[in-house]
Amino acid sequence: MKAFRFVRPSNGREAADLLASTKNALVHAGGVDLLDRMKERVDEPDVLVSLCDAKGLDQIRVEEDGGIWIGARVTLAQLADEATCRRFLPTLSEAAGLAASPQLRHRATVGGNLAQHTRCGYYRHASFPCLKRGGDSCPVRAEGGVQDTAGIFGNRDCASAHPSSLAPVFGSLDAEIVVRDAKGERLVPFAGFWANPAKGRASDTRLRPGEVIEGVRIPPRDTKQFVGYAEIRQKKAFDWALVSCAVRYETDGEKVTSASVWFGSLAPVPMRSVAAEEALVGTVCSDKSAAEAGARTMASATPLAGSKYKVALGKVALKRALAAARERA
């Protein structure tokens, strides 16, 4: 790791001021992803602006309007264990509790989970060319490329698959990302937070230099919500999801009146399936309507030879997430 200066602002505002006035600085929270990248010299900042002492950013709280605010430094262990999250955001709690290992859940943060870079092995190995690191093409797509974790949507230029399993849950809950820069705070709708891969664009987000994630806000709901989450992976413990799926829907007592369906690990960024949502609305939620929604989602998939299995996996994940939503209700 290259030597760097470690700066400890005491709140998000100070962090944003520091980022504005410091060259080649990166934000540090849990360090789970960032230190990995720095050890590989994929990132070589001169300064780490650490949120380790930042006040308030480690809290989950219910706001006056019933919305829930989750600080950027809240850990996955907090999401999994704290009563507020378990009670009001059960799918988020579930996804966080399944992720990684106890040791990592105690360190990994919400902000870091959203801002983490792709786990694609080629991206993280400086000896391979990689579109995201400024190369001309994606080695995953090349002859002989390792494709088993590759994306099956939006993979024409870069076949990475967004690793976050919290992201589809946040998407399904219509979360807003609270972003701060030296000028102030702004709320970014979840869908607008993500940036498709492009040559030399390492980040999967639209965060601009000088911006720091302060938290995530989940809007309040005044009607009954059905929420479900499912992920499929190779190992039961300590593994990444091969595909994750989070759903939220409302009914008129019988039929689905509105639905939100999001997938993780199928595309370079978290993916909403409008096709699945449209298929579900007007139906009584069941395995049959889930199968139709899955089929419509996957109709536009463009899998690579090594990631074809994810087409079937995605359908199963959606079916399980919807079944979980029905069971929870």
């Binding site: 790791m1 290259k2 030597a3 760097f4 200066r5 470690f6 700066v7 400890r8 602002p9 005491s10 709140n11 100070e14 520091l18 849990g30 360090g31 789970v32 230190l35 990995d36 720095m38 050890k39 001169d46 780490l48 650490s50 380790c52 002492d53 930042a54 006040k55 308030g56 262990a77 990684a100 290992s101 106890p102 040791q103 990592l104 105690h106 360190r107 413990a237 300590f238």
Partner: protein
């Protein structure tokens, strides 16, 4: 508040190096009056240590004329870090880029936690940070400043072993032994969390982040459950 803050936030080292030009900053009305503690002294004591954020916010409200304090900066060269390791305060000089694992092993000579993957993927470097298991390789030493670190050396000694260590011997829960210090820390955390009622499933979940290439898992789990039954 002031007394508590100045005491509670008194840092263990290296925290008073910034803000030296603030001596003439006006004293806010009412703040710390009659307590013999100036705001300057308070800042000096609190520095940019953990509690400073709250102090800043409260004092900002009192004194609009307060000159902003620069957030604390460490490195890139060696910086002093004081942390409580296995119950003893230790002060070391380390660069911010040194991980907690490096700090524990090199200056502190605690070689129980093992560097294996150095990427938070194997668990051999598991220690407790403020009584919670973490990978020492994914934490910077500077982050552990003022915090409590427990390594396998702090759990027990060869003559006075922790029940989990005892049961690891009893149940033959190791082969090559390289994952063992980390595995013991996770198993002992499971015992601490769940007490006598610890189930095998809970032990399994607690040890999920520790890999053993020899495949000693079944013995590890039975050692954890047996240690829990014995109490610790």
């Amino acid at each position: 508040m002031s007394d508590d803050v100045s005491r509670g936030a008194a840092p263990q080292g290296g925290a008073s190096h910034d803000g030296a030009s603030q001596d003439s900053a006006p004293q806010p009305k009412g703040a710390q009056a009659g307590k013999g503690l100036t705001r300057r002294a308070l800042f000096k004591g609190a520095g940019a240590a953990a509690a400073a954020g709250a102090v800043f916010q409260q004092l900002d409200a009192l004194a609009k004329d307060a000159v902003p304090q620069a957030p604390r900066s460490q490195g890139p060269g060696k910086t002093k870090i004081t942390l409580e390791v296995n119950g003893t305060k230790r002060t070391v000089a380390a660069e911010p880029r040194e991980t907690l694992l490096q700090v524990l092993r090199l200056p502190l000579d605690l070689t129980g936690a093992k560097p294996v993957c150095d990427r938070g993927q194997c668990g051999a470097c598991t220690v407790w940070l403020d009584d919670t298991p973490v990978y020492a390789c994914t934490i910077l030493g500077v982050e552990a400043e003022g915090r409590k670190v427990t390594t396998v050396e702090g759990l027990g000694t060869p003559s006075a072993m922790h029940p989990v260590q005892d049961e690891f011997v009893e149940k033959d829960a190791l082969q090559c032994g390289f994952c063992t210090p980390g595995m013991v820390m996770s198993a002992a955390w499971a015992v601490k969390q769940h007490g006598k009622e610890l189930t095998e499933a809970q032990a399994r979940a607690a040890c999920a982040g520790n890999l053993c290439r020899c495949g000693t898992y079944p013995h590890v789990l039975s050692a954890a459950v047996a240690a829990a039954k014995k109490g610790s």
